[in-house]
């Protein structure tokens, strides 16, 4: 599955960057969401994918039966998802406010702070 996922993740990275380059505020933020998802999937992929081996231990047992999928990347991704959620919630509201203030969706028309 990993080689297949390599292309999936690559495709997601490409799609998100393309989206962020569209100059639209809304697309920018959706692109960011996609990008964040892509990174999470990347971690999931590179740390190995296993079917049907959740890292859960049955009651009374000491280890998950039949082996386990690596729980550590799962914990990392979970943390990353949550962090990503917080950050993107901020970003979503930011574009909302920016649009209210600037009255403009086109990113290239928001240059006053650079030039």
């Amino acid at each position: 599955m990993e080689p297949l996922m390599a292309f999936v993740v690559g495709g997601m990275f490409a799609a998100s960057i393309y989206m962020m380059l569209r100059r639209s505020l809304v697309k920018l933020v959706i692109g960011l969401i996609l990008l964040s998802n892509a990174a999470n999937l990347l971690i999931f992929t590179v740390s190995g994918m296993h079917r049907g081996l959740p890292p859960l231990i049955a009651e009374g047992a000491l280890l998950p039966e039949g082996g386990w999928a690596d729980p550590l990347p799962q914990a990392l991704i979970l943390t990353a998802i949550v962090i990503g959620f917080g950050v993107l919630a901020f970003a979503v509201v930011l574009i909302h406010r920016a649009y209210e203030v600037v009255k403009e969706d086109d990113l290239d028309k928001m240059r006053s702070t650079d030039t």
Partner: protein, 766 residues
């Protein structure tokens, strides 16, 4: 010793307070400080005159070889005496010149800081400490030049002086560090002068050029000479001190100081000889074109600095003797002349000699002092300047190469100096009385005591050359030459070529003086000098920097988010991708393709959703497709044994949709802002990153990890972590700190969002 050097800074701190409490008499009291220093240094004379060199060492930052080490030998003592001696008169003079100015306390403070820096510069044995003082003189002089900072022009000129000298200083720093390396890690001058193998340093030429760049800028050598006359924007006491006796000589000092170590190279000779001579000539020519009292003196200073540089470059025994003699003579008469120029300016309200006349009756003492000092400047007997000039001619004729060239330039400049000495000493005082902005009368005692004494000294030293020779010049020459040399100074040294050159110079110079008005008119028409001059070069350079800055900022920081993103993405792809291609040897293996159809379909849907979201023109379509992507990812997590991830992904997806719909309806739909070509460009950029990520994953996938740390965590989970959901045990126990950070992120985001929404809402309410 340390106290002596630092006293300037100590007085600097006290000066404002003293000035306020002492009022009008402050200058006399404050002058006691340099006077005491002068006496202190005078006390060293007998010892040093024996050819001794004394080093004193106080650790400062020993780890970096930056120490308060001092070297007292003939050269440094000569400078120290000049600085403290002339400094004494300058302080007294300033009290008169700036009488009543409310910024006088500040002025004294900076002046003392400058004096301290200058002393530190010439006395430092440690090259870094020397450099520290070197830069401090640049900064303090900047503050002094810009004393009348309300004037836009003054600010500009002060900046010019600073940029040139600091710019040179930076090169000097590199040069000095290279020198230290070349000398085998030796950071003291005494050590460097004693070191072998400096000339074998592979980057010797670069080092030399860097050092000379520093000294040339500081000492106003062509083509960096322009800042010096411009620095006359400073109050006259400053000009008298900085631009005659002290700061501009710092470069000369350093060249003299390093002469024993670097002087044997041809490059040294040619650089110093040619640039010195050209500077000498340029200074004289510029002087001839000037009508301002201070400008004339400034250009003759340039001439003097050129002369000194040239002499050090020639480097023969005679040249070094000439250089040290000339140095002393110049300091004496130039300080006097500057103070007198200030007196004229102060009393008449103008600086233009052509607007003055007939002042001899009103200002007799000034007149006499000016005549004496100017005679020394012109190099006429029986003054000390004459001895110096004769020695200079002699040294030029002895030069190993370029003899004719140097001699002609020396005579030419001598002619013009004679002219300008006459202009300065005679024009304002003789002839008819002219109307001036202020009604002149004799300047106060404080402004005359310095010039009179210094002029007198010029006379005494001329008549009794053995006094300076024995006390100062000989030991200084020894220090510069690197070995002891006997020095004897006499007015009369026979009827020889130098004397004839002098006579010719005087005669021709007086002829020029006679026709000065015509000459002036002619020279003023030569405006091309201004157009092509070094100052234009400086201005162009500064304009170019601003232009390049503009261009660069337009190019890089142009406000276009797409450009920013593309640059960053291409940097990522470039650096990482290039490394991947070049630094990993094998083609990246695809790995084992093992998947079920349904898994592949779900994975494909995720990508298809992402791609559709990125190309659709429907905003909400994109949001809804995001839902597919989110659910698809959740399914992948579940199908590959991560139930907690699946659940979290679903919840987060749901909440994200809630947020988006709460926010989105105020936003407009998608408009296509980009042309097809742009879209192709963007697609290429996007695909490059996607491709990179694919390759990275495949490459890493090829690496087999045998014992991840998670195996241990799995083992610990139930017995040690008391939990059967290993992911959760990791989250709340093994890696609780991550989770703590994570919830702080969430909390912070909420605070930020809350502020974003409510802050302005309450603004509106007001």
């Amino acid at each position: 010793m340390l106290l002596a050097v630092l006293s300037g800074f100590i007085v600097c701190l006290l000066a404002p307070w003293l000035t306020r409490s002492l009022g009008d008499r402050a200058n006399w009291v404050l002058a006691l400080a340099p006077a005491a220093l002068f006496v202190y240094f005078l006390g060293w004379v007998p010892e040093i005159a024996q050819g001794e060199a004394i080093t004193v060492h106080y650790p400062w930052i020993p780890g970096l070889e930056i120490n308060m080490s001092f070297l007292v030998d003939g050269l440094s003592l000569l400078f120290a005496l000049l600085i403290s001696g002339i400094g004494t008169f300058i302080i007294i003079y300033a009290g008169g010149y700036l009488h009543g100015d409310h910024r006088l306390p500040r002025f004294y403070a900076i002046m003392f800081a400058f004096m301290g820096s200058m002393l530190g510069l010439v006395l430092s044995d440690n090259i870094i400490t020397m450099f520290v003082f070197w830069e401090l003189t640049s900064i303090t002089s900047y503050l002094l030049i810009g004393f009348h900072h309300e004037d836009r022009n003054v600010r500009w000129l002060a900046l010019q002086g600073l940029i040139v000298t600091v710019g040179g200083g930076l090169a000097l720093m590199a040069g000095l560090l290279m020198l230290a390396v070349a000398a085998g890690g030796e950071f003291t001058l005494s050590g460097i002068l004693a070191a072998d193998g400096i000339h074998e340093y592979p980057f010797f030429i670069g080092m030399l050029l860097a050092i000379l760049f520093g000294t040339f800028t500081k000492s106003a050598q062509v083509p960096f000479h322009f800042w010096l006359p411009n620095a006359m924007a400073a109050p006259t006491p400053v000009s008298a001190f900085l631009h005659s006796a002290t700061m501009v000589k710092a470069g000369v000092y350093l060249m003299a100081r390093l002469n024993p170590a670097l002087g044997e190279s041809e490059l040294w000779f040619y650089m110093l000889g040619i640039f010195g001579a050209l500077t000498m000539l340029t200074g004289s020519i510029m002087a001839l074109r000037s009508t301002g009292v201070k400008a004339i003196l400034a250009y003759t200073t340039i001439m003097a600095l050129g002369t000194l540089t040239m002499l050090i470059g020639i480097g023969t025994e005679g040249a070094i003797i000439a250089a040290m003699t000339f140095l002393l003579a110049h300091a004496l008469y130039k300080a006097a002349l500057f103070m007198l120029a200030g007196a004229l300016d102060h009393e008449t309200g103008t600086k233009d000699v052509t607007k003055m006349g007939g002042l001899r009756k009103l200002m007799p003492i000034t007149f006499i002092a000016a005549c004496v000092a100017a005679l020394s400047l012109a190099g006429l007997p029986p003054l000390f300047g004459f001895i110096a000039k004769e020695l200079m001619f002699e040294a030029v004729l002895e030069a190993e190469a370029l003899t004719t060239f140097l001699a002609i330039l020396a005579v030419l400049s001598a002619i013009m100096i004679v002219t300008m000495a006459a202009v300065f000493a005679l024009r304002p005082f003789l002839g008819e009385r002219k109307e001036t902005p202020k009604t002149p009368h004799e300047a106060p005692l404080s402004m005359l005591i310095g010039p009179v004494i210094l002029a007198t000294l010029s006379l005494i030293f001329g008549l009794a050359g053995f006094i300076p020779a024995a006390a100062l010049v000989q030991s200084a020459v020894g220090a510069v030459y690197g070995e002891p040399i006997a020095v004897e100074l006499y007015l009369w040294h026979g009827f020889n070529l130098p004397l004839m050159m002098s006579i010719a110079a005087v005669v021709l110079g007086l002829v020029l003086f006679w026709k000065w008005d015509a000459v002036l008119a002619l020279f003023k028409r030569l405006t091309f000098i201004d157009r092509f001059g070094a100052e234009r070069g400086y201005e162009r350079f500064m304009d170019a920097i601003v232009a390049v800055a503009e261009w660069q900022t337009r190019l890089l920081q142009n406000g276009s988010m797409s450009n920013y993103l593309i640059t960053i993405v291409l940097t990522i792809v470039g650096l990482t991708g290039w490394t991947l291609l070049v630094h990993t040897d094998t083609p990246i293996p695809l790995g084992v393709l093992d998947f079920n159809v349904y898994e592949a379909v779900i994975a494909a849907l995720v990508v298809a959703g992402a791609l559709f979201a990125s190309v659709t023109s429907s905003r909400l379509g994109a949001v809804a497709t995001l839902g597919i992507v989110g659910f698809g990812i959740a399914l992948i997590y579940v199908l590959f044994s991560a139930p907690d991830l699946g659940t979290t992904q679903i919840m987060v997806e749901t909440l994200t949709v809630i947020l988006l719909v709460l926010v989105l309806f105020r936003l407009p739909g998608f408009i296509n802002y980009s042309a097809p070509a742009t879209r192709i460009r963007d697609a290429v950029v996007a695909l490059s990153l996607g491709g990179l990520m694919t390759l990275l994953i495949l490459a890493v996938n090829d690496v087999t990890v045998t014992d991840p740390i998670s195996d241990t965590l799995v083992e610990w989970s139930e017995p040690e972590g008391h939990g059967r959901n290993i992911v959760n045990v990791i989250l709340v126990d093994f890696r609780a700190l991550d989770t703590l950070g994570e919830i702080f992120v969430i909390g912070l985001a909420a605070i930020g969002v809350y502020a974003m929404i409510r802050f302005r809402a309450e603004d509106k309410a007001k």
